[in-house]
């Protein structure tokens, strides 16, 4: 009986001690409207608070309650903003969820040839700033559908006629026929007298160089960059078709100089470093090419081509003896992180499963050493960018192959899931993605028994003690 009482009291003492440790880890709720470092409505101890410290969470402090901050003038809706911060910035504070606030409902804002997925007020604001008319479509509720709208208005040759002259501009039918488009065309006309008649006629899908349109725009060897591709310019400065040196000499009544064609119908996409860049302007960003002025790494023209001022430039990156495609990313070689034969980083399949066994990956003497940090590297337009994962390995670099390309991301290392496991066992622990059951004899634990890592103690173990 005496023993039982001692065990019972010990259990109570132990539970109380564990609770105390746990409570210290979690921290008591606290809210500070203005911290010493200038932060507003954050949970810091009273000693770091400049005014009105409250021993409760910020959600219970009226001025620090977080909600949606609405700018009635600009239509911006910003979530997770404390009431006091919102009101001091001239915003209207709302506690409803953002999708329940009428002012924050987004739709498709059509501005000239562009679309923006925004609120109606933001749409009006953007239109007034850009000096354009707008059309707000509230029936379009996703950004992708909105983006698709910008591509539907087809281009063609817009013929502008006055009593004295005829000009041509490559534009959309909407712009060509718009009542207010007149002001935009006046700049093209050399002899326009304000108030005299000006008419426009639109030829969808045609180029200004088309022989049948009888304009004074003809082909030229000049090129320009447009949406990543290289295009010929006509003598009036309009975009013709994507650059194809073999088609330059075709007559003006040929399809190439008559109809607007998709770059992919003109020549095969140019891949990074390919010699076809000398003859074709159909650049492919995903194959590491983009229109730019020629640089050292780009192919040189074989004979001195006139006006060779733009080319599908090579955007690949060369790094530590390997060549990476544009937009490819990979885990960097950082000492003390995971570094296997196939290169650094944690390798995953497309379902997110580890490709390396946990026993290799969690070797505590070699990998994930104190102070080590993961870094991802990305190839962007010929330049290698470093992105550091969060410190103390709160994030780790995970790498996978997708459609022949290497991709790496800093992913959260969910260490919490290991420490919050109830009645941990080796199997339960190892079943969790980011956890590994270390042997008690492991130097990292400093123990000498072949037991699992101890996060709690059971009654039976206590009795054994």
């Amino acid at each position: 009986m005496k023993n039982k009482i001692i065990i019972f009291l010990s259990v109570i003492f132990l539970v109380a001690t564990l609770n105390f440790i746990s409570a210290q880890g979690i921290e008591y709720p606290q809210c500070c409207p203005l911290a010493n470092n200038g932060a507003q409505c954050v949970a810091v101890p009273a000693s770091e608070c400049a005014s009105n410290f409250a021993p409760t969470s910020c959600d219970s402090v009226p001025s620090c309650q977080a909600g949606v901050c609405v700018n009635i003038q600009s239509g911006e809706c910003i979530e997770n903003t404390p009431k006091i911060v919102c009101e001091n910035s001239g915003g209207l504070f709302k506690t409803e969820a953002i999708h329940n606030i009428p002012e924050c409902q987004r739709g498709c804002c059509i501005l000239g040839q562009d679309t923006i997925f925004s609120t109606e007020i933001a749409c009006k604001e953007a239109a007034s700033k850009e000096g354009l008319n707008f059309n707000f479509r509230e029936d379009i509720t996703t950004s992708n559908a909105c983006l698709g709208l910008s591509l539907t208005d087809e281009e063609g040759a817009c013929i502008i006629k006055t009593d004295f002259e005829t000009k041509c501009k490559r534009t959309t039918g909407k712009e060509c026929g718009a009542e207010d488009s007149e002001s935009g065309f006046v700049d093209l006309l050399e002899n326009y007298v304000s108030g005299t008649s000006l008419t426009t006629e639109f030829f969808q899908g045609k180029l200004c160089t088309a022989d049948e349109l009888k304009t004074d725009c003809t082909k030229s060897e000049k090129t320009t960059c447009y949406k990543d591709d290289v295009y010929y310019l006509d003598t009036c400065g309009n975009r013709a078709n994507a650059f194809n040196s073999a088609k330059y000499n075709t007559p003006l009544n040929s399809d190439y100089w008559t109809y607007i064609q998709n770059p992919s119908d003109i020549c095969a996409p140019v891949t990074g470093g390919s010699s076809s860049a000398k003859t074709c302007g159909n650049c492919d960003y995903s194959s590491s090419t983009k229109c730019r002025s020629p640089q050292a790494e780009d192919p040189k023209p074989t004979n001195q081509q006139a006006n060779f001022e733009n080319i599908c430039g090579d955007l690949k990156c060369k790094y530590k003896g390997k060549t990476y495609q544009n937009t490819e990313s990979w885990c960097a070689q950082m000492s003390g992180t995971l570094w296997e034969e196939n290169g650094p980083g944690i390798k995953l399949d497309l379902d997110g499963n580890y490709l390396i066994s946990k026993d290799k990956m969690f070797n505590p003497e070699k990998y994930n050493l104190p102070g080590s940090e993961y870094v991802t590297q990305e190839c962007y337009e010929g330049e290698v960018l470093n992105v550091q994962c969060k410190g103390q390995r709160e994030q780790v670099c995970k790498q996978y192959e997708q459609q022949g390309r290497t991709r790496a991301v800093c992913e959260i290392n969910n260490a919490e899931s290991c420490t919050t496991l109830k009645n941990p066992t080796k199997d339960k622990c190892n079943a969790l993605d980011d956890c590994y059951w270390l042997s008690g004899s492991s130097p990292i634990i400093g123990g000498n028994k072949d037991e699992g890592a101890v996060w709690s103690i059971t009654k039976e173990e206590l009795e054994k003690e």
Binding site: G38, A43, A66, N80, S89, G91, Y285, L385, E394, E416
Partner: protein, 252 residues
Amino acid sequence: MKIKRGKKAQLTIFIIIAIVVIAIVALLFMFPKLRTNIGFEKLQSPENFIQTCLEDAIKENVEMISKQGGSLEPSLNILYRDEKIQYLCYTPQKYQACVVQIPFLEKHIEEEIKNSIEEDVNFCFNSLKQTYEERGYAANLKKGEIVVELLPKKILTTMNYEFTFSKEEGTQKIGTFRVVVNNNLYELISIAQSIMNDEILIGDSFEQFYMDFYTWLKVEKERPGEDTTIYTLTDRNTQDKFKFAVQSWSFR
């Protein structure tokens, strides 16, 4: 002999002329106002004068504000490589989404630019008045409101200052002055705002997505401390930059 004396006299005259020319040039360099007073320099129109006078000041202040997270004196900041960078969203707690510190970035930056150039605006308008007076005009200046607007690809500063100047030929009055500076801050801060939303939702952002979508954009992410992320957004074409800090942590 006579010929020789004539040559000597000629040489002396040339030397005297050279000394006078050098003296005049030196005077013009030492006292620039003399150049306008004696008509060596054409008097600029008031609009051009203000554009020339303010453009560099606006550019410098915009650059400073842009590399400090949108604030001239960042209230909540991290000191990184000798630069104070404003936190736009911040939490000191682990596993918590950050709390927005500057909700309407565009409006905030417009206000910051306005405050930063006020002294320069006054200086330029006083110089304008003085310059016109020195050229014989009767000039009058009435100060008004300054409005800074971030617009697509440019920053427009409108000064509703009334400047009247008159001479024998008549009086002219200008009521509004506009200075345009080419800068892509408008585009960069709208992306910063999206990144801030990502940080609130997931405690991180997908910089690759932004760079894939906006091919003119470079997003650089640095982590100087445990949980702080410093973002540098760069327009690859213009090299305009916007730098800001975020501290967030979320599993949502």
